[in-house]
């Protein structure tokens, strides 16, 4: 009988402890890890490309180069700290804009938009199908593009204009890789 009482007391203690644990764990269940912030895309992929990425990557590309004309051969490259800072700003815009392309709920183009080159380049709907069929591939190419900016940023930080110029080819190559896969896969050959 005594043994039974002891067992009952132990069970009561265990039950109490369990209820304490449950009570302590309840708030955690009611307050799960904060959800990822809901991204709210405003621009389409086409608009991000045309309004953010294209203009800035052109600034990166055009910051170094050479021209031959009636004045002879003229090389251009950033020379002052503020020049380098300006180019770096554009390289960062492009690098971070790549993240915008990783938001899978971003529409391909504005509603009702057509192919920019019917018969050659896909319609927004066709591009959507390709992206949805291969989201990992999409992410891979976008991140490959983002990575291609790293040598350019390194070159800018070192104020190495030749390295910045050399980095330009890889940036273009990663653009083309993605475009050939998702934008104009039917066009076997492309200009860039």
């Amino acid at each position: 009988m005594k043994h039974f009482r002891s067992l009952s007391a132990a069970a009561a203690v265990a039950l109490f402890a369990a209820s304490l644990v449950a009570a302590c764990s309840t708030p955690a269940a009611e307050n799960p890890r904060p959800a990822e912030p809901a991204f709210r895309p405003v621009a389409s992929i086409r608009e991000v490309m045309n309004s953010v990425i294209d203009p800035s990557v052109d600034e990166v590309w055009n910051s170094v180069g050479s021209t031959v004309d009636e004045k002879g051969l003229t090389d251009r490259a950033p020379t002052q700290d503020e020049h380098w800072a300006e180019v770096r700003r554009h390289a960062l815009i492009v690098s971070e804009a790549a993240n915008l392309l990783l938001m899978h709920n971003r529409p391909v183009a504005p509603p009702g938009a057509a192919s920019l080159a019917p018969g050659v380049e896909l319609t927004p709907e066709e591009i959507r199908v390709l992206i949805d069929k291969n989201p990992e591939g999409w992410d891979f190419y976008v991140q490959q593009f983002q990575d291609s900016l790293k040598p350019a940023l390194d070159a800018i930080d070192k104020k190495d204009s030749q390295a910045l110029f050399d980095a330009g080819e890889k940036i273009d190559e990663t653009c083309e890789n993605c475009h050939q896969t998702f934008w104009y896969p039917k066009a076997v050959n492309s200009s860039r």
Binding site: R76, H83, E86, G168, D172, E176, Y184, A187, V188, N189
Partner: protein, 136 residues
């Protein structure tokens, strides 16, 4: 202030090339592979820049007038690997370009082969373009 000036110079650098197409497009969206052309003219300007270069040449028309052409080339790194250098270009030099006519701009072309006055010939086509053997 200097930054603003440099920003303006950057923009001017992009604009002065007067590139017909700023966005990235498929070859067939910009050029007609059924319209090959061969141009003989003189160089008025050359842009050695990424993602691809530009040649500006003037050709003589049958009526004696001149026509200004803008020709897209491959990227400078690709041309360098084929032995072409920016120092090979001089304003006013004669040259010969084989390529393809632009679709929207009749004075725009995509270059495939460049022949300099000294007879040296270079493939200047972009990755892609028609499989016409120009890159062989």
């Amino acid at each position: 202030m200097k930054t603003k000036i440099f920003a303006v110079l950057l923009a001017a650098g992009a604009l002065c090339a007067v590139r017909p197409v700023l966005a990235h497009h498929a070859f067939a969206a910009e050029y007609d592979s059924d319209k090959p052309l061969e141009l003989k003219g003189t160089l008025t300007k050359m842009e050695w820049v990424n993602p691809h270069g530009w040649l500006y040449i003037e050709t003589k028309q049958p009526d004696g007038s001149t026509k200004k052409w803008t020709i897209e080339t491959s990227g400078p790194a690709q041309m360098s690997r084929r032995g072409l250098k920016k120092t090979d270009f001089v304003d006013g030099m004669p040259l010969q370009v084989k390529g393809y006519q632009g679709i929207k701009d009749q004075a725009h072309a995509n270059g495939r082969t460049l022949v300099l006055a000294d007879g040296r010939s270079f493939y200047i086509g972009s990755v892609g373009g028609p499989n016409d053997g120009a890159d062989k």
